[in-house]
Amino acid sequence: MDDKRTEIRRIIKDTKSLPTLPGVIAKLGSMAENNAISVHEMARVVSSDQVLSAKVLRLVNSAFYGFSGRVSTVSNALILLGVNVVKSLAISSSIFEIMEKNVVGLWEHSMGVAVAANVMAKRLKLPEPEETSTAALLHDIGKVIIKIKLQEDFDHLTTLISNKGLMMIEAERELLETDHAEIGEWLAQTWLLPEKLIEPIACHHNVEKSVVHQSKTAVVHVADVLIKASGFGFSGDDLVPMIQPVAWNRLGLTEAILESVIEEVEDKLVEVKNFSLEIQSSDEPKT
């Protein structure tokens, strides 16, 4: 009885049916593996797609990474954030273009989680806070796939959630025999994203499952809970899940740290709301 699951896997494997990513991203991926290629050559590749580089810079300068308006070139973005992050930003900006229009609530939720993850990673002095933000930005990417590739099921999920008071993930498991975390994992693998982004996407509802990138996964999990608690954006349901004890312990969180993280995040969410409104208004067709 795993017809639905097989069907979804097939959809993900059939890259032709997926939202297409700019050719630049594939090129960037292969360049990143070649040590002989300089950052400036990579920057030239990204810059060749003007729309894409504008979007990447817009994301880099948003509240998620804390550079607020100081990154003006793609080379700077590559040096500050690293190739993997820029590649993921390019992917997220392409994907979010679909999200912005279809699911504004989910886009805001994802941005909120990215900000919360960044604040928490920095507060806990964890390595690579930018990578953690990027993983957080992409954590619900599986939901986007359900929304755009399985529209009927998505509507059905929405009904299930409101009628039975379920969380999105419970409704998905009931209806699809899989969930957005697993779908996101398949998608991230198809796109050849690095493992440090795949694991938080795959395990953000089951932190125990993460083995290599435990702290990134735990941060994304806690950040997700905080943003749901805050009521910022809309992830599909409005129920706050429990912070898994394993995540709390792995991060060595305390109530005092968490309270100060919440204060800082809530301040920054105003900027995120601004950013989202700006993007929505700038994307409106000019007539």
Partner: protein
């Protein structure tokens, strides 16, 4: 005190927190606490890339006409599944305190 996006700032509002030129607390103050906003000041702040500011009272109803009571009721509803978990109850308390503070003692409405 309310944190509002600059797009909603209006002449007459009073700054509740100063704005610094950068995240560095040692940097120059761009606009001091207690300053009354004017059209030209708002324009200047916008040109400097300031995205949000803290103003006195609670002049803007950001999400429709949500009142403090409604915000707290919505918070209760969101936490319904974890109401029996001691840690989550404490976290809910942190949000209650935040909401009460952000709505300010001097609610504008």
């Amino acid at each position: 005190m309310q944190n509002i996006p600059i797009t909603l700032a209006a002449p007459g509002m009073i700054m509740a927190k100063e704005i610094k030129a950068s995240d560095d607390p040692a940097s120059m103050t761009v606009c001091g606490k207690g300053v009354k906003l004017s059209e030209s000041l708002i324009d200047r702040l916008r040109q400097m890339g300031i995205q949000s500011l803290f103003v006195e009272g609670h002049p803007i109803a950001l999400e429709g006409e949500t009142t403090l009571e409604e915000m707290l009721a919505a918070l209760d509803k969101r936490f319904i599944r974890v109401a029996g978990d001691p840690l989550m109850v404490k976290i809910k308390g942190m949000y209650v305190r935040h909401i009460q503070r952000s709505m300010g003692a001097a609610d504008g409405r």
